[in-house]
Protein backbone atom coordinates (compact mmCIF):
# COMPACT_ATOMS: atom_id res chain seq x y z
CA UNK A 1 0.00 0.00 0.00
CA UNK A 2 1.30 3.42 -0.93
CA UNK A 3 2.02 5.55 2.12
CA UNK A 4 -0.47 8.40 2.43
CA UNK A 5 1.22 11.69 1.88
CA UNK A 6 1.42 14.17 4.72
CA UNK A 7 -1.16 16.91 4.52
CA UNK A 8 0.20 18.83 7.48
CA UNK A 9 3.80 19.97 7.27
CA UNK A 10 6.40 19.82 10.00
CA UNK A 11 5.66 23.46 10.74
CA UNK A 12 2.09 22.52 11.61
CA UNK A 13 0.69 24.28 8.56
CA UNK A 14 -1.65 22.69 6.05
CA UNK A 15 -1.22 22.48 2.27
CA UNK A 16 -2.70 25.94 1.78
CA UNK A 17 -0.79 27.49 4.68
CA UNK A 18 -3.62 27.40 7.23
CA UNK A 19 -3.29 26.40 10.87
CA UNK A 20 -5.40 23.52 12.17
CA UNK A 21 -8.22 25.79 13.30
CA UNK A 22 -8.29 28.36 10.53
CA UNK A 23 -11.20 28.88 8.17
CA UNK A 24 -10.63 29.44 4.47
CA UNK A 25 -11.41 32.93 3.14
CA UNK A 26 -15.18 33.47 2.95
CA UNK A 27 -17.20 36.09 1.07
CA UNK A 28 -20.98 36.45 1.06
CA UNK A 29 -23.38 38.65 -0.84
CA UNK A 30 -27.15 38.81 -0.49
CA UNK A 31 -29.76 39.52 -3.14
CA UNK A 32 -27.83 39.17 -6.40
CA UNK A 33 -30.52 37.33 -8.36
CA UNK A 34 -33.35 39.55 -9.57
CA UNK A 35 -36.13 37.00 -10.06
CA UNK A 36 -35.75 34.97 -6.89
CA UNK A 37 -37.68 36.06 -3.79
CA UNK A 38 -34.43 35.77 -1.88
CA UNK A 39 -30.89 34.85 -2.86
CA UNK A 40 -27.33 34.73 -1.58
CA UNK A 41 -23.95 33.98 -3.13
CA UNK A 42 -21.05 32.54 -1.16
CA UNK A 43 -17.40 31.97 -1.92
CA UNK A 44 -15.88 29.71 0.71
CA UNK A 45 -12.31 28.82 -0.17
CA UNK A 46 -12.66 27.70 -3.77
CA UNK A 47 -16.34 26.87 -3.37
CA UNK A 48 -18.64 29.13 -5.37
CA UNK A 49 -22.28 28.60 -4.55
CA UNK A 50 -25.50 30.42 -5.34
CA UNK A 51 -28.63 29.83 -3.27
CA UNK A 52 -32.10 31.06 -4.15
CA UNK A 53 -35.49 30.89 -2.48
CA UNK A 54 -38.89 31.05 -4.16
CA UNK A 55 -41.88 31.17 -1.88
CA UNK A 56 -44.18 30.95 -0.25
CA UNK A 57 -45.91 29.85 -3.46
CA UNK A 58 -48.60 27.48 -4.66
CA UNK A 59 -47.91 23.79 -4.36
CA UNK A 60 -47.66 21.77 -7.57
CA UNK A 61 -48.72 18.98 -7.88
CA UNK A 62 -51.79 19.89 -5.82
CA UNK A 63 -52.07 16.55 -4.04
CA UNK A 64 -48.84 17.24 -2.15
CA UNK A 65 -50.25 20.29 -0.39
CA UNK A 66 -50.13 20.27 3.42
CA UNK A 67 -53.22 21.87 4.99
CA UNK A 68 -51.58 23.39 8.05
CA UNK A 69 -48.02 24.22 7.03
CA UNK A 70 -45.65 24.97 4.18
CA UNK A 71 -43.94 22.23 2.20
CA UNK A 72 -40.20 22.89 2.09
CA UNK A 73 -38.46 21.70 -1.06
CA UNK A 74 -34.69 21.76 -1.39
CA UNK A 75 -32.34 20.89 -4.19
CA UNK A 76 -28.57 20.79 -3.90
CA UNK A 77 -27.14 20.52 -7.39
CA UNK A 78 -23.64 20.68 -8.80
CA UNK A 79 -22.94 22.27 -12.16
CA UNK A 80 -21.24 19.89 -14.61
CA UNK A 81 -18.19 22.16 -14.63
CA UNK A 82 -17.94 22.48 -10.86
CA UNK A 83 -15.54 19.59 -10.29
CA UNK A 84 -12.32 18.27 -11.80
CA UNK A 85 -14.03 15.66 -13.99
CA UNK A 86 -17.18 16.85 -15.70
CA UNK A 87 -20.22 15.74 -13.81
CA UNK A 88 -23.35 14.57 -15.59
CA UNK A 89 -26.10 17.16 -14.96
CA UNK A 90 -28.60 14.52 -13.81
CA UNK A 91 -28.84 14.35 -10.00
CA UNK A 92 -26.48 11.78 -8.49
CA UNK A 93 -27.26 9.77 -5.38
CA UNK A 94 -24.88 11.99 -3.45
CA UNK A 95 -26.74 15.13 -4.53
CA UNK A 96 -30.06 13.58 -3.64
CA UNK A 97 -28.85 12.70 -0.17
CA UNK A 98 -27.34 16.14 0.35
CA UNK A 99 -30.60 17.74 -0.83
CA UNK A 100 -32.43 15.79 1.84
CA UNK A 101 -30.09 16.56 4.73
CA UNK A 102 -29.95 20.19 3.63
CA UNK A 103 -33.70 20.44 3.79
CA UNK A 104 -33.67 18.82 7.22
CA UNK A 105 -31.03 21.29 8.35
CA UNK A 106 -32.97 24.35 7.18
CA UNK A 107 -36.56 23.38 7.92
CA UNK A 108 -36.34 23.60 11.71
CA UNK A 109 -35.55 27.28 11.33
CA UNK A 110 -38.53 28.00 9.08
CA UNK A 111 -41.83 28.73 10.82
CA UNK A 112 -43.74 26.57 8.39
CA UNK A 113 -47.02 26.91 10.29
CA UNK A 114 -47.23 30.55 9.18
CA UNK A 115 -47.64 29.49 5.55
CA UNK A 116 -50.20 26.70 5.28
CA UNK A 117 -50.94 25.21 1.84
CA UNK A 118 -47.83 26.70 0.30
CA UNK A 119 -44.42 25.56 -0.85
CA UNK A 120 -41.10 27.16 0.01
CA UNK A 121 -38.44 26.18 -2.49
CA UNK A 122 -34.72 26.36 -1.82
CA UNK A 123 -32.34 25.93 -4.75
CA UNK A 124 -28.63 25.54 -4.14
CA UNK A 125 -26.35 25.50 -7.17
CA UNK A 126 -22.69 24.67 -6.74
CA UNK A 127 -20.76 26.45 -9.48
CA UNK A 128 -17.41 25.31 -8.17
CA UNK A 129 -16.85 22.72 -5.47
CA UNK A 130 -13.88 22.29 -3.15
CA UNK A 131 -14.79 20.48 0.06
CA UNK A 132 -17.44 21.59 2.53
CA UNK A 133 -19.88 22.57 -0.20
CA UNK A 134 -22.89 21.27 1.65
CA UNK A 135 -22.33 23.43 4.72
CA UNK A 136 -21.50 26.39 2.52
CA UNK A 137 -24.74 25.76 0.63
CA UNK A 138 -26.73 25.62 3.86
CA UNK A 139 -25.11 28.84 5.05
CA UNK A 140 -26.04 30.61 1.80
CA UNK A 141 -29.54 29.12 1.74
CA UNK A 142 -30.22 30.47 5.20
CA UNK A 143 -29.31 33.96 4.00
CA UNK A 144 -31.58 33.51 1.00
CA UNK A 145 -34.48 32.53 3.28
CA UNK A 146 -33.94 35.64 5.39
CA UNK A 147 -33.64 37.77 2.24
CA UNK A 148 -36.97 36.40 1.03
CA UNK A 149 -38.62 37.58 4.24
CA UNK A 150 -39.79 34.18 5.38
CA UNK A 151 -40.43 33.97 9.14
CA UNK A 152 -37.41 32.27 10.68
CA UNK A 153 -36.70 31.23 14.25
CA UNK A 154 -33.00 31.75 13.65
CA UNK A 155 -30.44 31.60 10.87
CA UNK A 156 -28.70 28.31 10.10
CA UNK A 157 -24.94 28.13 9.67
CA UNK A 158 -22.59 25.24 9.03
CA UNK A 159 -18.97 24.19 9.11
CA UNK A 160 -17.15 20.97 8.43
CA UNK A 161 -14.35 19.61 10.57
CA UNK A 162 -12.40 16.40 10.29
CA UNK A 163 -9.25 14.46 10.86
CA UNK A 164 -6.11 14.92 8.81
CA UNK A 165 -2.81 13.22 9.67
CA UNK A 166 -4.39 12.10 12.92
CA UNK A 167 -5.16 15.67 13.99
CA UNK A 168 -8.53 17.37 14.27
CA UNK A 169 -8.73 20.28 11.81
CA UNK A 170 -11.37 22.82 10.89
CA UNK A 171 -12.87 23.41 7.45
CA UNK A 172 -11.48 20.68 5.22
CA UNK A 173 -10.80 21.55 1.62
CA UNK A 174 -11.25 19.08 -1.22
CA UNK A 175 -7.81 17.47 -0.91
CA UNK A 176 -8.09 17.11 2.87
CA UNK A 177 -11.59 15.70 2.48
CA UNK A 178 -10.48 13.12 -0.07
CA UNK A 179 -7.16 12.15 1.48
CA UNK A 180 -7.86 12.77 5.14
CA UNK A 181 -9.43 10.26 7.47
CA UNK A 182 -12.64 11.92 8.58
CA UNK A 183 -15.18 14.55 7.62
CA UNK A 184 -17.91 15.92 9.88
CA UNK A 185 -20.30 18.53 8.49
CA UNK A 186 -22.30 20.24 11.24
CA UNK A 187 -24.97 22.92 11.01
CA UNK A 188 -26.52 24.85 13.89
CA UNK A 189 -29.10 27.47 14.68
CA UNK A 190 -26.67 29.76 16.52
CA UNK A 191 -29.03 31.65 18.86
CA UNK A 192 -31.15 28.67 19.79
CA UNK A 193 -27.99 26.56 20.07
CA UNK A 194 -29.51 23.55 18.32
CA UNK A 195 -27.77 21.26 15.87
CA UNK A 196 -29.73 20.71 12.66
CA UNK A 197 -27.18 18.87 10.54
CA UNK A 198 -24.75 16.21 11.68
CA UNK A 199 -23.00 13.72 9.47
CA UNK A 200 -19.93 11.72 10.24
CA UNK A 201 -17.64 10.14 7.72
CA UNK A 202 -14.56 8.32 9.05
CA UNK A 203 -13.47 7.02 12.41
CA UNK A 204 -13.16 9.20 15.50
CA UNK A 205 -12.16 8.35 19.03
CA UNK A 206 -14.52 9.74 21.66
CA UNK A 207 -12.16 12.70 22.32
CA UNK A 208 -11.59 13.34 18.64
CA UNK A 209 -15.33 13.37 18.05
CA UNK A 210 -15.93 15.89 20.79
CA UNK A 211 -13.05 18.05 19.68
CA UNK A 212 -14.11 18.07 16.02
CA UNK A 213 -17.77 18.58 16.89
CA UNK A 214 -17.15 21.49 19.23
CA UNK A 215 -14.68 23.01 16.79
CA UNK A 216 -17.28 22.84 14.01
CA UNK A 217 -19.77 24.67 16.19
CA UNK A 218 -17.24 27.28 17.26
CA UNK A 219 -16.22 27.93 13.67
CA UNK A 220 -19.86 27.96 12.63
CA UNK A 221 -20.39 30.89 14.99
CA UNK A 222 -17.55 32.75 13.30
CA UNK A 223 -19.29 32.23 9.97
CA UNK A 224 -22.59 33.38 11.53
CA UNK A 225 -21.00 36.75 12.25
CA UNK A 226 -20.29 37.04 8.52
CA UNK A 227 -23.89 36.14 7.69
CA UNK A 228 -25.08 38.98 9.92
CA UNK A 229 -22.69 41.34 8.23
CA UNK A 230 -23.91 40.36 4.77
CA UNK A 231 -27.55 40.89 5.70
CA UNK A 232 -26.84 44.14 7.49
CA UNK A 233 -24.97 45.41 4.46
CA UNK A 234 -27.90 44.81 2.14
CA UNK A 235 -30.74 45.97 4.36
CA UNK A 236 -29.35 48.54 6.69
CA UNK A 237 -26.55 49.93 4.56
CA UNK A 238 -24.17 52.25 6.34
CA UNK A 239 -26.72 54.96 7.03
CA UNK A 240 -28.57 55.95 10.15
CA UNK A 241 -31.36 53.72 11.15
CA UNK A 242 -34.77 55.04 12.07
CA UNK A 243 -36.85 53.19 14.59
CA UNK A 244 -39.59 55.75 14.68
CA UNK A 245 -43.05 54.79 13.56
CA UNK A 246 -43.95 58.43 13.06
CA UNK A 247 -43.88 58.07 9.33
CA UNK A 248 -45.71 54.77 8.99
CA UNK A 249 -49.34 54.17 8.14
CA UNK A 250 -51.44 52.74 10.91
Amino acid sequence: MEPKRKLIGDDGLRQDGRTWDQLRPIKMEVGLLKNADGSAYIEWGKNKIMAAVYGPKEVHPKHQVLPDRALVRTRYHMAPFSVDERKNPAPSRREIEISKVTREALEPAVIVEDYPRTAIEVWIEVLQSDGGSRVAGITAASLALADAGINLRDLVVGCSCGIVDGKVVADLDDTEDKEGSGDMPVAIMPNLNYVTLLQVDGIYSREQFQKAFELAIEKGREVYAMQREALTKKFFGDGQVSTSSEEEAE
Binding site: A52, R75, V83, P89, W123
Partner: protein, 271 residues
Protein backbone atom coordinates in the same frame (compact mmCIF):
# COMPACT_ATOMS: atom_id res chain seq x y z
CA UNK B 1 -38.06 32.33 -23.95
CA UNK B 2 -41.47 30.99 -24.81
CA UNK B 3 -41.44 29.49 -21.31
CA UNK B 4 -42.21 32.93 -19.92
CA UNK B 5 -45.15 33.43 -22.25
CA UNK B 6 -46.87 30.20 -21.33
CA UNK B 7 -47.23 31.25 -17.75
CA UNK B 8 -46.71 34.95 -17.47
CA UNK B 9 -49.60 37.20 -18.45
CA UNK B 10 -48.53 40.65 -19.57
CA UNK B 11 -50.89 43.40 -18.42
CA UNK B 12 -53.06 44.76 -21.22
CA UNK B 13 -52.09 48.33 -20.31
CA UNK B 14 -48.40 47.44 -20.44
CA UNK B 15 -48.76 45.83 -23.84
CA UNK B 16 -50.66 48.86 -25.13
CA UNK B 17 -47.90 51.12 -23.80
CA UNK B 18 -45.29 48.93 -25.50
CA UNK B 19 -47.01 49.14 -28.85
CA UNK B 20 -47.59 52.88 -28.52
CA UNK B 21 -43.98 53.56 -27.61
CA UNK B 22 -42.74 51.36 -30.44
CA UNK B 23 -44.78 53.40 -32.86
CA UNK B 24 -42.55 56.25 -31.70
CA UNK B 25 -39.43 54.12 -31.96
CA UNK B 26 -38.90 53.53 -28.24
CA UNK B 27 -39.15 50.63 -25.85
CA UNK B 28 -40.21 50.45 -22.20
CA UNK B 29 -36.62 50.64 -20.99
CA UNK B 30 -35.74 53.52 -23.29
CA UNK B 31 -33.99 51.42 -25.94
CA UNK B 32 -34.40 51.81 -29.68
CA UNK B 33 -35.86 48.77 -31.46
CA UNK B 34 -32.46 47.73 -32.82
CA UNK B 35 -30.59 48.33 -29.57
CA UNK B 36 -29.42 45.54 -27.32
CA UNK B 37 -28.91 45.81 -23.58
CA UNK B 38 -25.41 46.32 -22.14
CA UNK B 39 -23.45 43.10 -22.58
CA UNK B 40 -21.02 42.21 -19.79
CA UNK B 41 -18.63 39.32 -20.28
CA UNK B 42 -16.34 37.98 -17.55
CA UNK B 43 -14.14 35.01 -18.33
CA UNK B 44 -12.15 32.61 -16.17
CA UNK B 45 -14.55 32.74 -13.24
CA UNK B 46 -14.58 28.99 -12.60
CA UNK B 47 -10.96 27.98 -12.14
CA UNK B 48 -11.68 24.25 -12.04
CA UNK B 49 -13.20 24.44 -15.52
CA UNK B 50 -10.96 24.55 -18.58
CA UNK B 51 -12.75 27.71 -19.58
CA UNK B 52 -15.70 29.70 -18.31
CA UNK B 53 -17.66 32.85 -18.91
CA UNK B 54 -20.33 34.80 -17.07
CA UNK B 55 -22.48 36.83 -19.46
CA UNK B 56 -25.12 39.35 -18.46
CA UNK B 57 -27.51 40.88 -20.98
CA UNK B 58 -29.36 43.38 -18.83
CA UNK B 59 -30.75 41.17 -16.06
CA UNK B 60 -30.39 37.91 -17.96
CA UNK B 61 -27.44 36.09 -16.47
CA UNK B 62 -25.80 32.89 -17.69
CA UNK B 63 -22.61 31.00 -16.85
CA UNK B 64 -20.89 28.69 -19.33
CA UNK B 65 -18.26 26.18 -18.22
CA UNK B 66 -15.98 24.14 -20.48
CA UNK B 67 -14.64 20.75 -19.41
CA UNK B 68 -12.16 19.02 -21.69
CA UNK B 69 -11.03 15.41 -21.47
CA UNK B 70 -10.21 12.62 -23.89
CA UNK B 71 -12.49 9.89 -25.16
CA UNK B 72 -13.54 7.85 -28.17
CA UNK B 73 -14.93 9.58 -31.26
CA UNK B 74 -18.35 8.89 -32.79
CA UNK B 75 -18.26 5.99 -35.27
CA UNK B 76 -19.34 8.15 -38.21
CA UNK B 77 -16.73 10.89 -37.54
CA UNK B 78 -13.60 9.00 -36.52
CA UNK B 79 -11.30 11.95 -37.23
CA UNK B 80 -13.22 14.59 -35.30
CA UNK B 81 -13.17 15.54 -31.66
CA UNK B 82 -16.37 15.75 -29.62
CA UNK B 83 -18.10 19.03 -28.92
CA UNK B 84 -21.28 18.92 -26.87
CA UNK B 85 -23.30 21.94 -25.82
CA UNK B 86 -25.83 21.61 -22.99
CA UNK B 87 -28.09 24.06 -21.25
CA UNK B 88 -29.97 24.00 -18.00
CA UNK B 89 -32.49 26.65 -17.03
CA UNK B 90 -31.90 26.43 -13.30
CA UNK B 91 -34.92 26.62 -11.00
CA UNK B 92 -32.97 29.52 -9.41
CA UNK B 93 -33.48 31.53 -12.55
CA UNK B 94 -37.21 32.08 -12.69
CA UNK B 95 -40.47 31.39 -10.88
CA UNK B 96 -41.54 29.42 -13.93
CA UNK B 97 -38.53 27.08 -14.06
CA UNK B 98 -38.81 23.63 -12.52
CA UNK B 99 -35.97 21.27 -11.63
CA UNK B 100 -35.71 18.04 -13.57
CA UNK B 101 -34.67 16.87 -17.01
CA UNK B 102 -34.32 19.67 -19.58
CA UNK B 103 -37.60 21.11 -20.85
CA UNK B 104 -38.28 21.48 -24.56
CA UNK B 105 -37.21 25.11 -24.17
CA UNK B 106 -33.84 24.22 -22.68
CA UNK B 107 -33.25 21.60 -25.35
CA UNK B 108 -34.19 23.96 -28.17
CA UNK B 109 -31.86 26.54 -26.63
CA UNK B 110 -28.91 24.16 -26.49
CA UNK B 111 -29.48 22.79 -29.98
CA UNK B 112 -29.81 26.21 -31.64
CA UNK B 113 -26.65 27.48 -29.97
CA UNK B 114 -24.86 24.25 -30.82
CA UNK B 115 -25.89 24.59 -34.49
CA UNK B 116 -24.45 28.08 -34.62
CA UNK B 117 -21.16 26.81 -33.22
CA UNK B 118 -21.01 23.73 -35.42
CA UNK B 119 -22.14 25.16 -38.75
CA UNK B 120 -19.82 28.12 -38.47
CA UNK B 121 -16.99 25.66 -37.84
CA UNK B 122 -16.01 27.79 -34.88
CA UNK B 123 -13.91 24.96 -33.54
CA UNK B 124 -11.96 22.88 -36.03
CA UNK B 125 -12.90 19.46 -34.75
CA UNK B 126 -10.25 17.71 -36.85
CA UNK B 127 -7.63 19.50 -34.77
CA UNK B 128 -9.11 17.76 -31.74
CA UNK B 129 -8.26 14.32 -33.06
CA UNK B 130 -5.42 12.40 -31.40
CA UNK B 131 -5.67 8.90 -32.90
CA UNK B 132 -8.19 8.53 -35.67
CA UNK B 133 -11.01 6.20 -34.71
CA UNK B 134 -9.64 5.69 -31.20
CA UNK B 135 -8.90 8.79 -29.24
CA UNK B 136 -10.03 12.40 -29.45
CA UNK B 137 -10.43 15.42 -27.19
CA UNK B 138 -13.93 15.72 -25.80
CA UNK B 139 -15.14 19.26 -25.20
CA UNK B 140 -18.27 19.73 -23.10
CA UNK B 141 -19.77 23.19 -22.75
CA UNK B 142 -22.43 23.32 -20.08
CA UNK B 143 -24.46 26.45 -19.58
CA UNK B 144 -26.27 27.32 -16.37
CA UNK B 145 -29.00 29.91 -16.79
CA UNK B 146 -28.86 31.88 -13.51
CA UNK B 147 -31.50 34.59 -14.06
CA UNK B 148 -34.09 34.86 -16.81
CA UNK B 149 -34.95 38.25 -18.25
CA UNK B 150 -35.41 37.40 -21.88
CA UNK B 151 -33.18 36.42 -24.77
CA UNK B 152 -31.56 33.33 -23.37
CA UNK B 153 -30.46 32.39 -26.92
CA UNK B 154 -28.04 35.27 -27.35
CA UNK B 155 -26.80 35.28 -23.76
CA UNK B 156 -26.03 31.59 -23.98
CA UNK B 157 -24.40 31.91 -27.39
CA UNK B 158 -22.05 34.69 -26.23
CA UNK B 159 -21.19 32.74 -23.08
CA UNK B 160 -20.34 29.56 -24.99
CA UNK B 161 -18.21 31.46 -27.49
CA UNK B 162 -16.41 33.45 -24.77
CA UNK B 163 -15.75 30.36 -22.67
CA UNK B 164 -14.36 28.42 -25.64
CA UNK B 165 -12.18 31.28 -26.79
CA UNK B 166 -10.51 31.57 -23.39
CA UNK B 167 -10.40 27.86 -22.55
CA UNK B 168 -7.11 26.07 -22.04
CA UNK B 169 -6.58 22.34 -22.34
CA UNK B 170 -3.75 19.95 -21.51
CA UNK B 171 -1.78 19.08 -24.60
CA UNK B 172 -1.77 15.38 -25.38
CA UNK B 173 0.81 13.63 -27.54
CA UNK B 174 0.58 10.18 -29.04
CA UNK B 175 3.05 7.63 -27.62
CA UNK B 176 2.90 3.88 -28.35
CA UNK B 177 -0.43 4.41 -30.05
CA UNK B 178 -1.83 5.87 -26.82
CA UNK B 179 -2.63 9.45 -25.89
CA UNK B 180 -0.34 10.84 -23.22
CA UNK B 181 -0.89 14.05 -21.30
CA UNK B 182 1.90 16.61 -21.19
CA UNK B 183 2.24 19.51 -18.80
CA UNK B 184 1.72 22.02 -21.59
CA UNK B 185 -1.51 23.96 -21.82
CA UNK B 186 -2.87 24.95 -25.20
CA UNK B 187 -5.92 26.90 -26.29
CA UNK B 188 -8.93 25.27 -27.93
CA UNK B 189 -8.55 25.58 -31.74
CA UNK B 190 -11.08 28.39 -32.30
CA UNK B 191 -11.17 29.64 -35.88
CA UNK B 192 -14.24 31.84 -36.10
CA UNK B 193 -16.76 33.64 -33.94
CA UNK B 194 -20.44 32.96 -34.61
CA UNK B 195 -22.73 35.61 -33.16
CA UNK B 196 -26.44 35.14 -32.66
CA UNK B 197 -28.93 37.98 -32.68
CA UNK B 198 -32.47 37.39 -31.49
CA UNK B 199 -35.45 39.55 -32.35
CA UNK B 200 -39.04 39.52 -31.16
CA UNK B 201 -42.02 40.84 -33.04
CA UNK B 202 -44.40 43.07 -31.08
CA UNK B 203 -47.22 44.44 -33.18
CA UNK B 204 -45.42 45.18 -36.43
CA UNK B 205 -42.04 46.01 -35.02
CA UNK B 206 -39.00 43.81 -34.67
CA UNK B 207 -37.13 44.45 -31.41
CA UNK B 208 -33.61 43.22 -30.84
CA UNK B 209 -32.65 41.49 -27.58
CA UNK B 210 -36.11 41.22 -26.05
CA UNK B 211 -36.43 41.29 -22.28
CA UNK B 212 -38.89 39.03 -20.42
CA UNK B 213 -41.77 41.44 -20.60
CA UNK B 214 -41.33 41.88 -24.33
CA UNK B 215 -41.16 38.12 -24.81
CA UNK B 216 -44.43 37.82 -22.90
CA UNK B 217 -45.99 40.32 -25.33
CA UNK B 218 -44.37 39.04 -28.53
CA UNK B 219 -46.07 36.83 -31.03
CA UNK B 220 -42.95 35.68 -32.80
CA UNK B 221 -39.25 35.32 -32.12
CA UNK B 222 -36.43 34.80 -34.60
CA UNK B 223 -32.77 34.07 -33.90
CA UNK B 224 -30.17 34.42 -36.63
CA UNK B 225 -26.53 33.48 -36.20
CA UNK B 226 -23.89 34.92 -38.49
CA UNK B 227 -20.18 34.24 -38.83
CA UNK B 228 -17.18 36.51 -39.37
CA UNK B 229 -17.90 36.78 -43.10
CA UNK B 230 -21.54 37.79 -42.63
CA UNK B 231 -22.81 34.36 -43.64
CA UNK B 232 -25.84 32.93 -41.92
CA UNK B 233 -24.94 29.74 -40.13
CA UNK B 234 -28.03 29.08 -38.07
CA UNK B 235 -31.53 30.38 -37.73
CA UNK B 236 -34.59 29.54 -35.71
CA UNK B 237 -38.07 30.95 -35.69
CA UNK B 238 -39.94 30.50 -32.42
CA UNK B 239 -43.58 30.72 -31.30
CA UNK B 240 -46.58 29.32 -33.10
CA UNK B 241 -47.06 32.21 -35.50
CA UNK B 242 -46.25 33.33 -39.01
CA UNK B 243 -43.70 35.68 -40.51
CA UNK B 244 -43.60 37.24 -43.95
CA UNK B 245 -40.59 36.64 -46.20
CA UNK B 246 -39.83 40.39 -46.19
CA UNK B 247 -39.69 40.42 -42.43
CA UNK B 248 -37.30 37.47 -42.49
CA UNK B 249 -34.92 39.38 -44.76
CA UNK B 250 -35.25 42.45 -42.55
CA UNK B 251 -34.25 40.29 -39.60
CA UNK B 252 -31.31 38.84 -41.51
CA UNK B 253 -29.94 42.29 -42.34
CA UNK B 254 -30.36 43.44 -38.73
CA UNK B 255 -28.58 40.37 -37.54
CA UNK B 256 -25.60 40.83 -39.86
CA UNK B 257 -25.16 44.46 -38.85
CA UNK B 258 -25.61 43.99 -35.11
CA UNK B 259 -23.72 40.70 -35.15
CA UNK B 260 -20.64 42.53 -36.39
CA UNK B 261 -20.83 45.00 -33.53
CA UNK B 262 -21.24 42.29 -30.94
CA UNK B 263 -18.40 40.26 -32.42
CA UNK B 264 -16.12 43.22 -31.65
CA UNK B 265 -17.31 43.18 -28.05
CA UNK B 266 -16.69 39.47 -27.69
CA UNK B 267 -13.23 39.79 -29.23
CA UNK B 268 -12.42 42.56 -26.82
CA UNK B 269 -13.61 40.64 -23.79
CA UNK B 270 -11.80 37.45 -24.71
CA UNK B 271 -8.42 38.61 -25.93
Amino acid sequence: MSMMKKNYVVETIRKAQMVEMLANGKRMDGRAPDEHRPIKIQTGIIQKANGSALVTLGNTEVIAGVKIATGTPFADTPDKGLLVVNAEILPLASAYAEPGPPSEDAIELARVVDRGIRESEMVDLTKLCLIEGKSVYTVFVDVNIMNVDGNLFDAMSYAVVSALRTAKMKKYVVEDDKPKATEEEIPVPVERIPVSVTMARIGDALVVDPMSEEEAAMDMRITITTDDDGNICASQKGEASTISPEKVLEAVDLSIRIGKEIREKILEATS
